[in-house]
């Protein structure tokens, strides 16, 4: 498949209460093999998927939050977080897991995958996408 499309995965749901966050992540991981232009957006309660310190030992469910840290190794390094959603939940960037990737075009320098963007900026990113998968 020669065509490259811009895929945007939109995450608006918190983890653990429902399975959407986990199964969305599974699509992202499989999709990474297709060499498309991939971006992830975290909006509304979706920002809770990336919070630090998740510990699921007490609820008997797998803690899948470490998987987000591996996304950079799959060339998934455009992670957009809506600033308004973070602020509405009393969160800052420091409350989120640091997600990094190594930039092969810049002597493998370690860079941040997370970009906190305004509603206007995110609106533009969405509009430029070819395929939007919502979870």
């Amino acid at each position: 498949m020669s065509e490259t499309k811009k895929f945007l995965y939109v995450n608006r749901k918190a983890p653990y209460g429902t399975i959407y966050a986990l199964e969305s992540l599974e699509v992202v991981l499989i999709g990474a093999a297709f060499e498309q232009d991939v971006a992830l957006a975290f909006i509304d309660d979706g920002v809770y998927q990336l919070t630090q310190g998740q510990d699921t030992t007490g609820i008997g469910v797998k803690n899948f939050s470490p998987t987000y840290k591996a996304l950079g190794d799959f060339d998934v390094n455009k992670i957009y977080i809506e600033k308004e959603s973070l602020e509405a939940r009393g969160l800052t960037l420091d409350d989120l897991m640091p997600l990094k990737y190594e930039d092969e075009d810049d002597d493998w320098a370690e860079k941040d995958s997370i970009h906190v963007v305004s509603s206007e900026e995110l609106s533009e990113i969405m509009d430029q996408s070819d395929v939007v998968l919502s979870f």
């Binding site: 939109v10 608006r12 959407y20 909006i43 509304d44 809506e82 308004e84 509603s119 995110l122 609106s123 533009e124 969405m126 509009d127 430029q128 996408s129 070819d130 395929v131 939007v132 919502s134 979870f135």
Partner: protein
């Protein structure tokens, strides 16, 4: 690059409609389906938000979902167009991308 947004939640149950309106780029369209059709009612909780958004976005509502819920078309906010499933398909093909606000 206009986008079609679908909203399927009642605005008095979830914030889906508000988020969609906040993030939908001007020039796009919003189609209210399933319980999303409650957002099309005149005088309902988020009716002003919808009316104000109409300067930048076109609003549609799925007729069969309205009818199923006993909402007559004269209760709908002025400017929202009623479409059937054929109209839904046309909206999808007329816009470059569809985003479902789940």
């Amino acid at each position: 690059m206009a986008m079609l947004h679908t909203v399927n939640k009642s605005p008095t149950d979830r914030n889906t409609l508000e988020s969609c309106i906040r993030l939908a780029k001007k020039g796009g369209s919003v189609l209210l389906i399933e319980d999303g059709v409650y957002g099309a009612i005149k005088g309902a909780a988020k009716a002003d938000t919808v009316s104000n958004a109409m300067s930048g976005l076109s609003f549609y509502v799925l007729g069969p979902d309205l009818k199923a819920r006993g909402i007559s078309e004269d209760k709908i906010i002025d400017g929202i167009k009623v479409v059937d499933y054929n109209g839904f398909v046309d909206l999808v093909s007329e816009h470059d991308t569809t985003q479902s606000w789940l």
